[in-house]
């Protein structure tokens, strides 16, 4: 059962040095606030998993907390490179970054296998690509019925998955809607699950495209309105494309980046102190 608790305490309890952590959200509902709390607490030596390492992972990588990245597309969507990611891979700054690199189809199926508690998933993928030469989590299996050789990808089972959602009820049942990405799979594949939400409501109203995660698959729910910014939460906010564009020059330069991180993340006082309490955020 999920406890509804402060972001500080939930992150401190559930995210640990050396963990494999998935913070998912396909452009939509990216859990920035939780990632910033990880940075503030300096939780380090992380293996980060994410199909599309977005600016959120650029920040964690630049903060020096990441040992390894498991991913399939690492860019700033529509803008360009993730400069902190590139700097870590190309120059080892602030520390070397190991990569486990896949295609989207492969990563999606790795989460599916993880959620299904299978050791691997099968797809018709990677054929003719050099990708399998760079990873030990792609292999092959032969169909016992047709003899066809297919790609096998190893399951992903993060130690902890962190997602942002629109709503939880008082029991900690969660609903998200809009682009649902791989959040359900990432959550069900994980050993521990932390969900930040826009608000607590008395009752989760079924919605078109709604994905419900019951409280008994979640460890902690934290009320963090705007916790996906500069990503967005459909029905609550729109994507801050200007921030994504502004990120490019910030991240290009190590000093500019570090100053940004000190000012906008590390220097932010405990957000729970300033945050409205549960009651105030109930609609």
């Amino acid at each position: 059962m999920a406890d509804i608790r402060s972001l500080h305490d939930a992150v401190a309890d559930l995210v640990r040095d050396g963990d494999t952590v998935a913070m998912e959200g396909f452009t939509h509902l990216i859990p920035y606030a939780a990632a910033h709390e990880v940075i503030r607490q300096g939780i380090t030596d992380l293996t980060l998993v994410r199909m599309t390492p977005d600016v959120v992972y650029d920040q964690l990588i630049g903060a020096g907390l990441v040992r390894k990245l498991v991913f399939s597309w690492g860019g700033n969507p529509g803008v360009g490179s993730l400069h902190r990611f590139r700097d870590a891979v190309e120059n080892g700054w602030p520390r070397p970054l190991e990569l486990d690199e896949h295609s989207h189809a492969g990563m999606a199926n790795r989460y599916v296998a993880g959620a299904s508690r299978l050791p691997f998933a099968v797809l018709r993928g990677y054929r003719g690509s050099d990708i399998p030469a760079r990873t030990d989590t792609v292999s092959t299996v032969v169909c016992p019925f047709t003899g066809e050789e297919l790609a096998a990808v190893a399951a992903l089972n993060p130690d902890v998955t962190v997602i942002h959602a629109q709503q939880a009820d008082r029991e900690g049942n969660v609903q998200l809607w809009g682009l649902a990405g791989v959040q359900k799979e990432a959550a069900l594949a994980a050993r521990r699950v932390l969900v930040t939400v826009e608000e607590i409501v008395d009752r989760l109203e079924p919605r078109p495209g709604g994905v419900v995660l019951p409280t008994w698959v979640i460890d902690a729910v934290c009320v963090v309105p705007g916790g996906a910014h500069p990503s967005y939460a459909a029905g609550y906010s729109v994507r801050d494309n200007a921030f994504y564009q502004a990120w490019d020059p910030i991240a290009r330069d190590r000093e500019t980046f570090t100053r940004w991180l000190d000012t906008h993340v590390r220097g932010v006082p405990d957000p729970d102190a300033a945050a409205p309490d549960d009651e105030a955020t109930v609609r």
Binding site: H28, G75, P77, R127, I131, G178
Partner: protein, 262 residues
């Protein structure tokens, strides 16, 4: 062509616009298109505004039948979901819809392409003693190129992009010849055209090697040769693409202007 001013004589369009308009035209007749972000998304949305109003746009973020009114910055912009006929999970998108063989055209960009339309979006060799230059990675491309009925590539023409030898094969086009896709069991027909800011290249049916089949208005074979990292073959029947119509240009510019609102 219309009875408006002939754009040949009034070439008030850019080479990027030539690329985008021709990329959109390549979608005439298609039912469904799996759309990469950036140039492919521009082309696919322009196609909906011009040659193919009923084209079903499919984005890897899980949207089927998106009808955005402006160019999305990312594949996950809210409008893609709000205007879609259906929104599915990312695993479902890749398994049931893409691998399921439901999509006619895969429209992709590329960082490097070789003479067989193989694509690198992973890493580039920056020479001895220098670390490999990092690109974004595969994304959906390997399986888009494998499973869609056919593939269109759109990218700017330069020696940096059109290379003799890829530093890394992220996504197979035609491998090293016309038999490779069948040998590997790839369901789709592979790259049908590479559309650049200079012209259009298509694979020779006999060799699968890209051949320059059309130049855009104003472009020359010499400029294509200069911008291609291999000794590019030019078709005996080399044509010239029709210049953008005023309607095409108006639609393209309206899309781009709308995209800058936010």
């Amino acid at each position: 062509m219309t009875d408006h001013d002939d754009p040949h004589n009034n070439p008030t369009f850019t080479s990027d616009e030539l690329m985008e308009v021709n990329a959109a035209r390549a979608l005439a007749g298609a039912t469904t298109c799996f759309v990469g972000i950036g140039l492919p998304s521009t082309a696919a949305n322009l196609a909906r505004a011009t040659v193919n109003p009923d084209l079903v746009l499919i984005y890897e973020s899980g949207t089927i039948g998106s009808k955005p009114t402006r160019l999305p910055l990312s594949i996950g912009d809210g409008e893609l979901a709000e205007t879609a006929d259906a929104v599915v999970s990312v695993p479902e998108m890749f398994n049931y819809w893409l691998q399921g063989g439901r999509i006619d055209v895969g429209f992709l960009g590329a960082a490097q392409v070789d003479r067989y339309a193989n694509v690198n979006t992973t890493a580039v060799d920056r020479g001895p003693g220098r670390p490999e230059g990092r690109l974004p990675g595969a994304g959906g491309a390997p399986e888009i190129a494998a499973n869609c009925g056919r593939v269109l590539l759109v990218l700017r023409h330069s020696r940096r992009n059109f290379v003799e030898r890829l530093d890394f094969v992220t996504t197979l086009g035609h491998g090293s010849g016309p038999a490779d896709r069948a040998r590997l069991g790839l369901p789709g027909a592979g790259p049908a055209a590479v559309i650049t800011d200079l012209g259009v290249l298509r694979p020779d049916p006999a060799t699968a090697e890209l051949v320059l089949t059309a130049l855009h208005p104003g472009a020359t074979v010499e400029r294509v040769r200069d911008a291609t990292g291999w000794d590019v073959t030019v078709s005996d029947a080399l044509g010239t693409t029709a210049p953008p119509t005023p309607q095409e240009l108006a639609a393209l510019r309206a899309l781009k202007a709308a995209g800058k609102d936010d």
